[in-house]
């Protein structure tokens, strides 16, 4: 299937287009992809018809109907023929909820990887690095049906020269291999290797950083990067703020606080990843936008106002995940004016409001830790 407007959009640099340049390109690509889903996904078409929405008439992104992220737990929505399914991704299921399921064809999978990689390289630098993964060896194995957790890890490894894992699964529980991580970090320090330590936020802090702090052990990983993702909920209950995490990581690993990067993403729009920039914000790439909606009226809110976060991107063509309203609360700080120099809307995710279930991969993984 051809998507010329989408292709044109993806040919742009991730964060260099300003609002004026981006608006039309993004709108045209979203229109094109919305029309595709409208024609090929019957439930999505009924949904649009109920809302009297016709993709061809879309002139403002705020008028694009959104699907709640949770709909992907209850309905398998396809915009491709079943035989075209290349991979199914499931989110982390919780004890209370069902996992989300999304399907990818080869084209979407390839496109998502391309977008993901561009964002990661833009933030980490275009250089292969050694990765220390705070997860099990199985998490980087290959398989057709994969969890969001291993999908996230594996998608990062495209820029890894060498990869080591340092968590083992013993009798269903996850156990950190302390000797191994110590030896990997010591080697990196001695050989001045610019490593990347990757882990789910809670695991990184509670099982690695906290332990190292308690033993007063410190490393000097000059040029190293710490990437963490998912699951602030458990740390919030321990009163650990993002600032505290950054400060403690700098202290024990000897990296700049700018190099402690928090990645945000969600299964329903896999391929989209939002790392924190040097100024601590996340940015919409040229192929995406964000709208904050009032939690009661659902109307779009102004810059600075906190509300439910709607993410728009045309990069998925195998399922109608191009406009998703999440349970997350956040706000837009501004557009095109972040001090880091990147263009696009820059925003903060404040997490899920009260009563939301523990859902992030890291939280689920934490429950398995011994």
């Amino acid at each position: 299937m051809d998507f010329p407007n989408l292709d044109q959009l993806l040919s742009k640099e991730v964060y260099t287009c300003d609002k004026k340049e981006k608006s039309e390109l993004l709108l045209n690509a979203v229109k094109e992809v919305s029309q595709h889903h409208f024609e090929r996904c019957q439930p999505y078409r009924r949904f649009c018809q109920k809302k009297e929405f016709e993709p061809a008439t879309l002139s403002l992104l705020k008028d694009l109907p959104y699907l709640p992220a949770s709909i992907f737990k209850d309905a398998l929505l396809l915009s491709i023929a079943e035989e075209k399914i290349f991979r199914t991704i499931s989110s982390s299921a919780t004890s209370f909820g069902k996992p989300s399921r999304i399907v990818l064809d080869k084209q979407t999978s390839k496109r998502q990887s391309k977008c993901f990689n561009k964002v990661v390289l833009e933030r980490l630098g275009n250089k292969r690095r050694e990765f220390i993964i705070l997860d099990t060896p199985e998490s980087i194995g290959r398989n057709n049906q994969i969890t969001a957790r291993s999908s996230t890890i594996r998608s990062l490894l495209f820029c890894a020269g060498k990869t080591d894992t340092c968590v083992n699964e013993i009798d269903g529980s996850l156990v950190l291999d302390e000797d191994k991580i110590d030896s990997l970090l010591q080697n990196a320090e001695e050989e001045k290797t610019q490593v990347v330590i990757f882990g789910f936020t809670y695991i990184l802090y509670s099982y690695v950083v906290k332990r190292l702090l308690s033993t007063a052990k410190k490393y000097r990983l000059s040029g190293g990067k710490i990437i963490h993702i998912g699951g602030w909920k458990k740390l919030e209950s321990e009163k650990v703020t993002p600032e505290k995490l950054m400060e403690d990581c700098s202290k024990v690993f000897g990296v700049n606080s700018d190099d402690v990067i928090d990645f945000y993403g969600f299964t329903e729009q896999s391929g989209m990843i939002y790392p924190t920039c040097e100024a601590g914000f996340r940015h919409s790439p040229v192929w995406g936008d964000i709208i904050i909606r009032d939690p009661l009226t659902l109307q779009p809110m102004d810059i600075g106002q906190k509300g439910l976060m709607q993410f728009i991107t045309p990069i998925q063509t195998s399922y109608p995940g191009h406009s998703v309203l999440t349970e997350d609360i956040g706000y837009i700080q501004g557009v095109d004016t972040c001090t880091c120099g990147r263009k696009g809307a820059f925003f903060k995710v404040l997490g899920r409001a009260q009563h939301a279930e523990v859902r992030g991969c890291g939280d689920i993984m934490a429950e398995k830790f011994a």
Partner: protein, 430 residues
């Protein structure tokens, strides 16, 4: 101190302190008894309190806009309280004096308070908890209310604070009436505190989920104590074919919208499903549109609170599913939602003014799927059907039938109990 509990109200005063449970129990036990009080005096104080609550300038209205204060006020009016006592005991003087009854032999009877009533409250509707307490007062018991530890809502204590300011005369005043009351909170994991409280109770009243009530019920208790349980319940509405064809549907929709909007459907008497006796889609669509309009109008009198993001997600998910696969009508925002499918089931209860409307060719068929936890059925049916349906559903465990529009009105009996009857012991003399 390990046995300390947070105290919101104690011995006639609003408080925000920690007190040891033993000390608290001793003080409540030593507080002046309400037994010598003429019931009429208690009723008069509550009537005064009702007027105080109805005053829109009262600060409680600003602090608790969605807590049904007008409803509490209406419940505490002299006429209602008198009716509650008369329905329960036949007379408002049952606790004041021996009342003679001639039944072959001449005998007289008097009701006495049981002693200490402990009310374990659920977090969902504090209003009902207050009405539970009022019945404890009317029956001259000492009362301790265990409020949910997680809630920051101090409505109960603030209501008591207002009650304590009402005065008829020096002896019979709100201050003295509330001397033997405590509102406390502690984490439910503190078993020792729970045991100390439970061991002193002469009557234990549990409001809450099946799970939490089962846990509380296992606390040690006096051999002579009685348990009253108000656990998980759900409710629904039915409208029969005749009413659907000849009734004033606009008016019915308006009344239904009230039941759906009160307490954001968190009360056990709140409906989540409406069964319409019809085979025609048009009937359902017509009523759904009327209800949609009525729910919109009801927002003006019962303003909407913002749902949590989890609640929003659940509502948006259902709306999307029903738009894709069934039928849905809803407000632009998350104010209210009407959903319809061809399933023959109840709910699920979503809350936040989310209502399922389902067609059924014969309302009697509902009896086949009735779960055993139905509290109220809001019913509109012609007289003969009304008799048949209320008999059939009651046999299956339904505890209350109410007119649509009055489903959430707390009345006696509630959940099958004339609560005041359980709050007294009877003494006879010949």
């Amino acid at each position: 101190m390990k046995d300390k509990v947070n105290v919101d109200f104690y011995l006639g005063r609003r408080l925000n302190e920690q007190i040891g449970i033993k000390e608290l129990l001793d003080s409540i036990s030593a507080a002046p008894s309400l037994l010598p009080w003429p019931t009429e005096k208690i009723i008069l104080i509550l009537d005064e309190f009702s007027k105080l609550l109805l005053d829109k300038k009262n600060s409680l209205h600003q602090r608790y806009p969605d807590s049904g204060l007008p409803y509490i006020a209406a419940w505490c009016r002299k006429s209602n309280i008198t009716q509650v006592l008369e329905n329960s005991f036949g007379s408002i003087q049952a606790l004041d004096q021996y009342n003679t009854r001639v039944n072959g032999i001449i005998k007289s009877y008097r009701a006495f308070p049981r002693g200490l009533a402990v009310h374990w409250m659920a977090g969902n509707v504090p209003t009902i908890g207050f009405l539970s307490l009022i019945q404890g007062l009317l029956t001259k018991n000492r009362n301790i209310i265990k409020a949910p530890s997680s809630s920051s809502d101090t409505l109960l204590a603030d209501l008591l604070d207002h009650l304590s300011t009402v005065g008829c005369d020096n002896t019979y005043c709100g201050k003295n009436l509330t001397q033997s009351i405590a509102v406390i909170r502690y984490d439910h994991s503190r078993t020792k505190v729970g045991e100390a409280l439970s061991n002193q109770a002469d009557i234990r009243i549990f409001w809450g989920s099946d799970q939490s009530v089962a846990k509380l019920k296992s606390l040690p208790a006096k051999l002579s104590s009685t348990d009253i349980i108000f656990s998980n319940k759900t409710s629904f509405m039915v409208i029969d074919h005749s009413t659907l064809k000849t009734g004033n549907l606009q008016k019915i929709a308006k009344q239904a919208a009230i039941d759906i909007s009160v307490f954001e459907q968190k009360a056990c008497a709140s409906p989540h499903t409406l069964f319409l006796e019809t085979t025609e889609d048009e009937d359902l669509d017509t009523f759904a549109h009327l209800l949609l309009q009525a729910l919109g109008n009801t927002l003006k009198i019962i303003p909407k609170r913002t749902p949590s993001s989890k609640e929003s997600s659940a509502i948006l998910n259902l709306r999307t599913q029903y738009d894709m696969f069934h039928k849905a009508w809803y407000s632009d925002g998350l104010e209210f939602t009407i959903l319809s499918d061809t399933d023959m089931k109840f709910g699920p209860p979503v809350g936040n003014r989310t209502m399922f409307i389902r067609k059924i060719d014969n309302l009697e068929k509902i009896a086949d799927i009735l779960p055993d936890n139905i509290q109220t059925v809001g019913i509109l049916a012609e007289l003969s059907r009304f008799d048949t349906l209320t008999a059939l559903f009651a046999e299956k465990g339904v505890q209350r039938f109410a007119k649509i529009g009055t489903m959430t009105h707390f009345e006696i009996p509630w959940d099958g109990y004339f609560l005041p009857q359980y709050l007294v012991r009877w003494v006879s003399r010949q």
